[in-house]
Structures are given as C-alpha cells and as structure tokens.
Symmetry: C2
Subunit: 156 residues, 2 copies
C-alpha cells in the first residue's frame, strides 16, 4: 500500500492509518535480492525529510532480524510502541517493551527479535551521528501573540 501524503511550503504530512495495520505496508530490499518484507514502511521520500530517515515496523510473533548490522555514519534510534522483545548491542541483551527507546552508535552490532505473543511494533530513526550538538529549546523562535488558527481544514 502507498502512504497518503500532503505537501506545501514548509511541510509534508503522511498518514499511515492505524498503527495496528502496519502489516499492510511492504518494503522491497533491493540489496537482498528484492526480498519483500511486510510490515515495514520508510518515510524519508514521502515526507521529503532532510535530517532523518524514519521507518515504521511490525514484527509478528516469532520474527527476528536474520542478520546483525552496524552503520557507517548514522546514529540509529529504536522507539518501541508495543509488544515484547529482545534487543542485542554487541555482547549486551536487553528486554524491550512499550516505551523502550534505544540509541545505538555507528559501531554497535545490533539485532532484535519478537519474543512475545503479540506484534512487536516500533519506529526506527537514522540521523547523522554528532550532527546535533547545540541546545534544542534555544533553536525555537516563539511567535508573539495568540495562535492564529486557520478555519478551513486541508483535505488529504
């Protein structure tokens, strides 16, 4: 299935629908002999992202990464939304569940698997390691006065 998007000056919006239905998306891994992986959708292109790659993922019960991997330049961050699993970084193994968030540096050898009886749903971010050193509150510019809410909704 294709992701629904809206674009305009200064924004892009994507609408994935219910996060319980991520298995309807399918990603084709060109580097793995065009292996088709259901339950994975990348958003960098759909959202015209310039500072991150984002994917939404669903591992059914019993699913596990078939290989471990490192990264060249990108810090990777995993945000777990539901389910139960295990996450490996080098020699360390963690229990992961709803609300677990993991940062892995470029050199960390990582893999993860669903060890529960429900779907393991998670978001994966790739960002350039060491690219964001300054404060993030200071990066904001507050607009004086009250919010000028537009009246008409954009239709998707």
């Amino acid at each position: 299935m294709e992701v629904k998007t809206q674009h305009g000056a200064d924004y892009s919006a994507a609408h994935l629908g219910s996060l319980l239905s991520l298995m309807q998306y399918e990603y084709t891994f060109a580097g793995l002999g065009n292996r088709k992986v259901p339950g994975k959708v990348f958003l960098k292109e759909a959202l015209q992202l310039t500072g991150a790659e984002i994917s939404y993922n669903c591992f059914p019960p019993g699913a596990a990464m078939p290989f471990s991997h490192q990264h060249r330049e990108h810090e990777e961050i995993y945000l777990f939304l539901s389910g139960q699993g295990e996450f490996m970084v080098n020699d360390a193994l963690f229990a992961i569940a709803e609300g677990s968030v993991l940062r892995v540096s470029t050199g960390g050898i990582r893999a993860y698997r669903n060890t529960g009886t429900d779907d393991l749903r998670f978001i994966v971010l790739q960002v350039k390691q060491d690219s964001l050193q300054q404060g993030t509150i200071d990066d904001g510019i507050r607009i004086p006065g009250q919010v000028a809410w537009p009246v008409v909704l954009q239709t998707a």
Copy 2:
C-alpha cells in the same frame, strides 16, 4: 518522574513504561518562567543522543499550544500515536490522528491542539535540517553469518 536508563559502549536505553502514562512525566520550561508542563519528557540527555532531540508528549482533551513557533536550524517531525487533533503550518490546517507524521521546515509557523475526547499522544523529533542527504540503506554494514544472540539479559 525520572526516566530509567541503561548505558554501555555503543548504546543507551531508556524505558518510559506504558505510553498511556506519559502524564506522570513533567518538564520545567526555564524560558517560560519555570512553567511546569506535565506529559512532556525530553530524551536527548537520558539517551546521550548526538543527532536528534526526541520528546514524548501527551495533550489531554482541550489542550492546545498557547503560542506558535518557528525554528532556527532544526527540521521538526511530529509522530502522532493516538487521539484526534489539528495541526497548523502557516495558513494550512490538517486533521491529525494515529499514524499521522508531519515534517515542518525551519521557517514554518506551527501550532497544534487536541480536538478530541481522548489524550493526544505524540513524539516530536528535532534534527538538523539538510544533515542527512545520502542513502540510508547504504549506510548499513551487514555482519556475515547468523546473529550471535547473547544469553543473559541486562537488568535495568
């Protein structure tokens, strides 16, 4: 409440617990007269992030941003997990719900509000705009052979 963390070579892990209980976290905005905001937790420090700021957020029914804002250098990305709301970028207004993901460029004037009867739960990312131009699949390095799963779980 403090976030539980684990740290090691190449990783940090944070465990927020149930995403239905985000209101137990409270953030103090130094720039707004130390105003305390329940339902907001930043993770850059807890996770020792170097390429992104991440916050988890909960707006109860009726809650709205009291001001709009822009950014200086950071692309901002909003990932909505549950609830119903409206998101403004300049003159455009979108309906947002579970599975909505929005990118906003530095200059976009943005605000958002909960228009539903349940909590509006969402994740906000800040990343450096234009920092990630190359491919993200190519950034991965596959480790040959099967995954060497460690046997012992790290305790949090």
